[in-house]
């Protein structure tokens, strides 16, 4: 029993010797600690201070060919350019503008077509040519996007003009609708005067005028109804025919139709029975009743402004996320995950290589220490070191930079611990395979580069094709970024996949490293 306990005690002592040694070695390298904690923190701080997050202005020159007959005055267009496009000049000659673009003095040249009207009147779209001079793919995409937004804006300006012109008639129609009762009253008064004078011919003329007025008013009401129905269809209002304005216009149309009937009946009565007031009195009474109904309905008709018809929708944004982090807050959890992975891989990638090249590996092979004990000892020591460094970084991020931590510390610690464990496993695997320190450092740098591109740090994972996404999922940082952002910025519990992923990586890589180390410990 005592012998067994002694053996167990020694099984603890042997790996523990590595914990003491490795921690002391790291502690003795203050420059390394500076490089691992303070330097990345300063980088993040500098980023936070220096990054404004705004889009720089796109300096634009508008080329208006003389043949286009458009104004060359910059003031006429300044309000027509949408941010970040800033109109810096309007010229009539394309050449100098292109030269300025070649020299990268400006960012964009917008060239109006020479004969836009001829093209449009021929039934084709006129082309606005937009030039830019940009190598950066993202910037190119943005310039193309800005160009399309600007073109849409110019199209909207034209549409506004056209629509305003088109609606002028409709608007006059609406005015007509409102003026109709007064004009009807005036016409009826003239009819009564003719009837009082017994002038049948004059009365018939007045009735013709009144029928034409009523017909025009019906047309105006019909147009207004069509515009309203078209607007309703385009915005997806299925119940528009039952809406009050449409109902009112239909009531107006009925009133006008009945007034037309009354006017016809009056005309017939005069033709048959002569221009006697008592002959037409019932018909005129009927008309007066419909006129009052009409006047009441028309007074309540709404008039839709052109701007509303042009842009029927406006956005009212509301972010349901519990926080609206700025750039530092958003990137801080990702930086933390990236640093944990980088620190762990860099430290451990060299751990076994140094023992091997330093000669101690040969000693371990003869000594009563197993490969598993070597790996366990080193794993524990680097886990302790990594956990302390991660803890310091997390405290600095939360309390130093004020990055929100909406979830709980335990969840955060779980993710950090798993990312650390997985990264240590990868580091030990590199260390077990690498023949020299240079090879180990190269592998660590490649993983850092992969982390920047494939982990979702800068580019969303969805931008990658599926096979390449697999690369993302063999990196612990991918899980760390998602998990930490979820816990810190949304206050949620970490999704299962961000727990299972790094745990699986840690298991697979550490087992692989242990097997390789065992092979290397064997007799050659």
């Amino acid at each position: 029993m005592r012998h067994l306990l002694n053996r167990l005690w020694r099984m603890i002592l042997r790996p523990a010797s590595f914990v003491g040694k490795d921690i002391t070695q790291i502690r003795r390298q203050p420059q390394l600690i500076v490089a691992l904690i303070i330097a990345p923190f300063l980088v993040l701080l500098l980023f936070g201070i220096g990054y404004e997050g705004r889009t720089p202005p796109v300096e634009t020159v508008l080329v208006v060919p003389p043949e286009s007959d458009l104004s060359a005055d910059r003031a006429d267009y300044e309000d027509d350019f949408v941010s970040p496009l800033v109109l810096v000049d309007v010229v009539t000659d394309e050449g100098p503008a292109i030269e300025a673009l070649d020299g990268r003095e400006i960012d964009l040249v917008v060239v109006f077509p020479e004969n836009a009207f001829d093209t449009i009147s021929a039934g084709e779209q006129a082309e606005i040519t937009i030039y830019y001079n940009e190598l950066v793919p993202f910037q190119r995409n943005w310039l193309e996007f800005y160009s399309s937004v600007q073109t849409a804006e110019l199209n909207q300006i034209v549409q506004r003009e056209v629509l305003e012109q088109g609606l002028a008639q409709s608007r006059s129609g609406l005015e007509e609708l409102n003026q109709y009762p007064q004009e009807l009253d005036a016409g009826l008064e003239r009819l009564n005067t003719a009837l009082a004078a017994g002038d049948a011919e004059q009365a018939q003329e007045e009735l013709v005028t009144l029928r034409e007025l009523t017909e025009d008013t019906r047309d105006a009401a019909g147009q207004s109804r069509l515009i309203l129905l078209a607007t309703a269809r385009s915005v997806g209002a299925g119940g528009a025919p039952e809406s009050p304005p449409i109902q009112s216009l239909e009531a107006i149309d009925r009133n006008l139709s009945e007034i037309e009937t009354g006017l016809t009946n009056t005309s017939t009565a005069i033709a048959n029975q002569g221009a006697e007031p008592q002959v037409v009195e019932p018909d005129l009474q009927f008309i007066a009743e419909r006129r009052d109904a009409y006047a009441t309905t028309a007074a309540n008709l709404p008039a839709i402004p052109v701007d509303v018809l042009l842009a029927p929708f406006e956005a009212d944004e509301e972010n349901l996320a519990p926080t609206s982090p700025d750039f530092v807050d958003f990137y801080a959890p990702a930086v933390l995950a990236l640093l944990i992975q980088h620190i762990a891989i860099t430290l451990t990638a060299l751990a076994l290589v140094r023992e091997r090249t330093g000669g101690t590996f040969e000693l371990f092979r003869v000594a009563p220490i197993s490969p598993r004990e070597v790996l366990t000892g080193k794993y524990l020591s680097y886990f302790v070191i990594g956990a302390v460094l991660s803890g310091v970084l997390a405290l600095v991020i939360v309390y130093g930079l004020g990055v929100p931590l909406l979830g709980n510390w335990l969840q955060m610690a779980l993710i950090v611990g798993l990312v650390l464990a997985a990264s240590l496993g990868i580091g030990f695997l590199i260390s077990a395979v690498a023949g020299t320190e240079t090879q180990a450092v190269q592998a660590a740098m490649i993983l850092l580069l992969s982390a920047v591109f494939f982990s979702g740090f800068f580019l969303p994972l969805d931008n990658l094709i599926t096979p390449v996404q697999l690369v993302a999922y063999i990196l612990p940082v991918t899980y760390g970024i998602s998990g930490l952002q979820e816990v810190m910025l949304r206050g949620n519990t970490s999704p299962d996949w961000t727990i299972i992923g790094p745990a699986a990586i840690a298991l697979v890589t550490t087992t692989a490293a242990s097997l390789i180390l065992s092979l290397q410990f064997r007799r050659q």
Binding site: R14, T24, Q25, G359, L363, V366, A367, P368
Partner: protein, 320 residues
Amino acid sequence: MGTRTRAIETVISASGAGKSFGSVDAVEEIDLNISRGEIVSVVGPSGSGKTTTIRLLLGLYKPSRGQVDVFGMPPEDFTREESERIGYLPQQFLLYNDLTVRENLLFAAGMYGLGPRERRDRIPKLLEQLDLTAAADRLARDISGGMQRRVALAATLIHQPDLIVLDEPTAGLDPVLRESIWQMFEELRQAGATLLITTQYITETERGDRILLISDGSIVASGTPDGLRQQVFGGEVVRLTTSETHPEMIEVINGLDFVADVRQIEPGELEIVVDSADTAIPRLLEAFGGRDFQIDQIREVQLSLDSVFVELVQRSSEPA
């Protein structure tokens, strides 16, 4: 070492053991037995296969042919208990430069599973034995090369192993320090340890019980220092100095039955190989009696091991 029995015990035995890397034979057939309490020195020219032989005997290399047993079993069958009985100082063993001397020893103690009490007992003693007490809290990088080698030696001995295998333990040390370290080896032998030591300092090998001379991966000679001398010259050497060498003198010497060989190394100087110098000198003088030979000096010559090894290595490289 306390549990060791005093009975003669073979610690390392090799039978036809050899090691090849691809088509290159690094070590040819080795037949060897090293008993408990022996100091065996391994010497040979640089690149002769000393380190490979050590690794083969320790089980770091699997023999390509033949058999190696340590403590009566092949090294691949070692349990931790057998491994704990071995102390190995590799030629390349470098200390952890960013640890102090004491921390290096603490790590070594931990690696061998020594508990806190054993560490407290043994580390100060070893530091004192190896004259390292004053440097105990200095970083390994800040001490001299000789001190570093001693710290490495202390780390090898910290668990009091039965079999101590040292690959060039005194390399780079001054003669005074080498002497004190060899005294320590002798003390370890007295305590029952077995030492297998490679060295480039041939004079050191005389401190051991046995010498293995390795050349081109083969043991070209094995035995005690005197035994090797005998092996090279066929006996002991007597040097005779005379003012004038008579051809008759050489004839007389050659005619003596206890003389194995005689050669003139320069005018007036003869080297005579005999079975035993002590008995041969008076008999030579007796044989010269009554003749007109002018003898200036006659004495036994203890030829240096350097010349013995040079001779042995040269012979081994000559075609058979």
